[in-house]
């Protein structure tokens, strides 16, 4: 059984991670002074779902912690306790511990058991400190069965040797599937025994310990196999018996003779009336039954009878379950239908296939363009429809990989909150444009560099409240995360209203490190210095930042994604760091150039302009390195046919074309034979079957089916600078 279960682990891990992230977001957004019951319910549901999942897979450490967490949350949402800010802290701590435990189960590192115990203790303390005597917490199963297609099962099993907690989870699980009734006969002398445990007693615990032979009746839409699966984890299958019962007999059991015969009329009104009895709604059958030790099911009846009477007799159980399901599950149910989980490989495969389709379409279009448009009018019409459809298809397939950047932004409120508290700063985090979408691959990769920038802003940018007030700034600093589309790229900005970068300090530090700098350097170049490895102007090294590791990593990470980093800063006013990324890793806008009969693609993002220089504008330095004079600037020149050792007829610069590239703020002139055209190309890896090639970042397939190489503009620029430096 346990081996079969392993295949579902991954699903649980993913779900639990998402639930934890949701929980954290909700906790951070929670208004402590007037918490909305909707949010509290949502947090509770998240905790409960994690508990349910962890229980199923036997991750007892997670179950224990979520159980305690859930108990406290339950009190909060029932207004038995008031929400206090220290609770939020403990909740956040608990979610961290849960993350650790999750990672432990995934096999990534060890879970911190000491921290778990500590958090458990804190949660219990908070629950007790509320001053309100702990009432037996009525379990509120998150997943209630829908009203349709109910079956009634009689479940008998021996619960000998099953411990109380497992039993409790099991009952909660079953109750989550539908209406559960406990028909177990009480064991003499044990049925009503009160078990004090940490000042808290739940009826179900007592029930679980008391009963040796457990008889349950479950009205549910789950199949017999599902119930069997659920029970088989806990109960020896040899002692387990599940029988389907006829529906009427179930009703007879569930609705005893005490039930009044109400006419069918006035159903609607009675339904509303039913909803007004919160006790009957929140206390599911399982709790009520278990609390009363099993046989007392009938005794419990009078409590609920006002509500019950209002319901049409035949569908008592079904309606009840259905209504509860609607009330509680409105939000998650909507989430379930609006998305499906698909493995990323499938999506990538689809993207590849569509890429092929685009190429085939381009090939057909090229052939079709040679036929007589009068005779083949229909064919050409079809071709243009095909072209449009292919483009639409490509766009929608690409959008499958797109995710809103809020997936990344949502983690920063927590980072900022924790760090601000640690540094004694007051910081407000604003996010703008969370809905901006970018490729999933980029989302994953952008998170780390962005975290680094946010931490940097907080540590180095934002001043302490006292110093801010002293210079007439509000005590509370602001960090703004902004994302927006610009052209074919997405721009992500981290800006703060802090101290700004100090030009003098950076230059002084650079001199100290023996770098070639001078006072006349433009600001942009000075700011770029902070991306040098090991460069830090922080006076004190803290555990937050200041070691000078990081900014260089940030830059190299972003460049690896095909992006650029720009800094704008004003001393005393603030700093803005902008990251410019391509929308997707899979497609690139490029200019195709031809050199010696070969086609190369130059990424459009690097191109400033293309021109044909006059013979007099091309000069040499020390007779070897060449420069081009373009509007007052001397740009280093690199001839592509020399870089790639190609034979070409065009060897004089003024007969070919010079493409000006801008890389890291430096311009380079690249000499090619001719420009061919502008394309959107699908990037293919050269490395998957071959190796990295100097000066080439990848390959693509052109409309005629041939392979064209994509130039690595940075490597070309380096080549040019290197050649010039060598010559000089």
């Amino acid at each position: 059984m346990s081996t079969d279960l392993k295949q579902f682990y991954q699903v649980f891990f993913e779900e639990a991670a998402e639930l934890l992230a949701d929980m954290e977001t909700l906790l951070l957004a929670l208004d402590v002074s007037s918490p909305s019951s909707e949010d509290l319910n949502a947090i509770f549901r998240a905790a409960h779902s994690i508990k349910g999942g962890a229980g199923t897979f036997g991750f007892s450490d997670m179950t224990e912690l979520t159980h305690v967490l859930e108990s406290l949350l339950d009190k909060l949402r029932k207004d038995e306790l008031d929400v206090r800010s220290e609770m939020i802290d403990v909740f956040l701590l608990a979610s961290d511990v849960l993350k650790g435990q999750l990672a432990g189960h995934r096999g990534e590192g060890e879970a911190d058991t000491a921290a778990a115990a500590e958090v458990c203790a804190k949660l219990k303390q908070l629950a007790a400190a509320g001053g309100v005597p702990a009432k037996p917490a009525a379990p509120a199963p998150a997943a209630a069965a829908p009203a349709a297609a109910h079956k009634v099962f009689r479940i008998e099993f021996s619960c000998e040797g099953v411990n109380a907690r497992v039993m409790e989870n099991l009952l909660a699980d079953l109750a989550g599937r539908g209406a559960l009734e406990n028909l177990s006969p009480p064991v003499a002398g044990a049925g009503r025994k009160t078990k004090k445990q940490a000042g808290k007693k739940t009826g179900k615990q007592a029930a679980g310990q008391a009963i040796q032979q457990c008889v349950l009746r479950l009205t549910t839409s789950s199949s017999e196999e599902d119930i069997w699966e659920a029970l088989a984890f806990v109960v020896d299958p040899a002692n387990l018996k599940i029988e389907a019962e006829a529906l009427p007999s179930a009703n007879a059991g569930a609705v005893p003779s005490a039930d009044s015969d109400k006419p069918d009329a006035g159903d609607v009104q009675q339904d509303c009336g039913y909803g007004l009895f919160p006790e009957a709604v929140t206390a599911p059958a399982a709790a009520a039954v278990a609390e009363n030790g099993g046989v007392a099911a009938a005794e419990a009846e009078p409590v609920r009878s006002p509500g019950r009477r209002a319901i049409d007799k035949l569908d008592a159980a079904a309606v009840k379950v259905g209504r509860r399901g609607e009330d509680k599950l409105a939000v998650p149910a909507a989430g379930e239908t609006s998305s499906i989980r698909v493995s990323i490989e499938k999506v990538d495969q689809m993207i590849n296939l569509v890429g092929e389709l685009v190429i085939t379409q381009a090939m057909l279009a090229q052939t079709a363009s040679q036929v007589d448009p009068v005779i083949y009018e229909k064919l050409l019409n079809g071709m243009s429809t095909l072209e449009r459809n292919t483009r639409d298809l490509q766009e929608s397939v690409m959008s499958m990989r797109m995710m809103p950047i809020s997936f990344v932004f949502s983690r920063y409120p927590r980072v900022v909150r924790d760090l601000a508290a640690k540094l004694g700063k007051q910081v407000e985090l604003k996010t703008v444009g969370e809905g901006t979408e970018l490729d999933k691959g980029l989302i994953e990769k952008i998170a780390d560099p962005l975290t680094h920038l946010v931490r940097n802003s907080l540590d180095h940018g934002i001043e302490l409240p006292e110093s801010r007030v002293a210079i007439d700034k509000p005590a509370k600093g602001t960090i703004t995360l902004r994302a927006f589309h610009q052209g074919g790229s997405i721009v992500i900005e981290v800006s703060d209203d802090g101290a700004g970068l100090s030009r003098e300090r950076i230059l002084a530090k650079a001199r100290e490190r023996g770098m070639a700098v001078h006072d006349g350097m433009p600001d942009q170049e000075v700011w770029q210095l902070i991306f040098e490895a090991g460069f830090s102007t922080a006076a004190v090294v803290t555990d937050v930042s200041g070691r000078g590791v990081g900014m260089d990593v940030v830059k190299s990470n972003i460049q690896a994604m095909g992006g650029r980093v720009e800094i704008n800063s004003a001393l005393g006013v603030g700093t803005r760091i902008s990251i410019r990324l391509p929308l997707t890793l899979a497609i690139l806008d490029g200019l195709s150039v031809s050199v010696g009969g070969e086609l190369f693609i130059v990424p459009l993002t690097y191109i400033v302009e293309s021109l044909q220089p006059a013979a007099a504008d091309v000069k040499t330095v020390s007779g070897r390195g060449r420069v081009v004079h373009v509007r007052g600037e001397y740009l280093p020149l690199v001839a592509l046919h020399e870089v790639f050792n190609l034979q070409t007829k065009v060897t004089e610069v003024h007969k070919g074309i010079v493409v000006i590239l801008e890389v890291e703020g430096h311009k380079t002139a690249m000499f090619v034979d001719t420009l061919v055209g502008q394309h959107q190309v699908v990037i293919k890896s050269l490395e998957s079957n071959y190796r990295r090639v100097q000066g080439v970042s990848g390959a693509t397939i052109m409309g005629d089916g041939r392979v064209a190489l994509i130039l690595d503009a940075e490597a070309i620029a380096r080549e040019a600078q290197g050649a010039l430096a060598e010559a000089a």
């Binding site: 190429i359 070969e598 890896s685 079957n689 071959y690 090639v693």
Partner: protein, 171 residues
């Protein structure tokens, strides 16, 4: 070049090859006959125009588009100085699937698919003088009067002197 137009017979044989691993695809380089394990062969194609790769060794002709995958093409005739490196409609490319990669190999011609029993394979003598590194030769097969040089193509293609893979990915 003895049996030039054999692609037709060899290609379907490649499909059937799954039954036994002691089946070999034989090909010629100059006047030598080589055998490689059939399971490493993905397909056999005609030579088509390649996109050259800058600063690559001469025997790496370039890359081609094989149904959307970028595949490097190696000319074994240049690599081992055997036969004449001419390209026409009879030039054959064996597409190999080795070490998780797809690589194309230009040879003079593909002969056939043969089965070799254990006793037909002799250990390779020491060829220390040959350009062909003996590490890649698993044995010499005899079939009637023909001698086949049996090559561990996976080892050969992932070897550092083929320059097909990143140095760090080599074992």
């Amino acid at each position: 070049m003895t049996q030039a137009a054999v692609q037709e017979t060899a290609a379907p044989a490649g499909v059937m090859a799954a039954q036994a691993s002691n089946e070999y695809l034989t090909f010629t380089l100059g006047r030598e006959e080589y055998g490689i394990e059939i399971l490493k062969v993905q397909e056999i194609r005609c030579y088509e125009a390649v996109t050259r790769i800058a600063n690559a060794p001469e025997f790496i002709k370039g890359v081609v588009n094989l149904r959307g995958i970028i595949v490097p093409i190696v000319d074994m005739r240049i690599k081992f100085n055997l036969g004449k490196a001419e390209y026409d409609q009879f030039t054959v490319v064996i597409i190999l699937n080795v070490a998780g990669r797809v690589v194309g190999m230009v040879v003079d011609g593909v002969s056939d698919v043969i089965q070799l029993a254990g006793e037909q394979i002799r250990p390779a003598p020491d060829f220390s003088a040959s350009s062909f590194d003996t590490r890649y030769i698993t044995g010499l097969g005899t079939l009637d009067s023909r001698m086949l040089i049996l090559v561990d193509i996976e080892k050969l293609m992932s070897g550092s002197d083929m320059a097909l893979m990143e140095p760090e990915t080599l074992q």
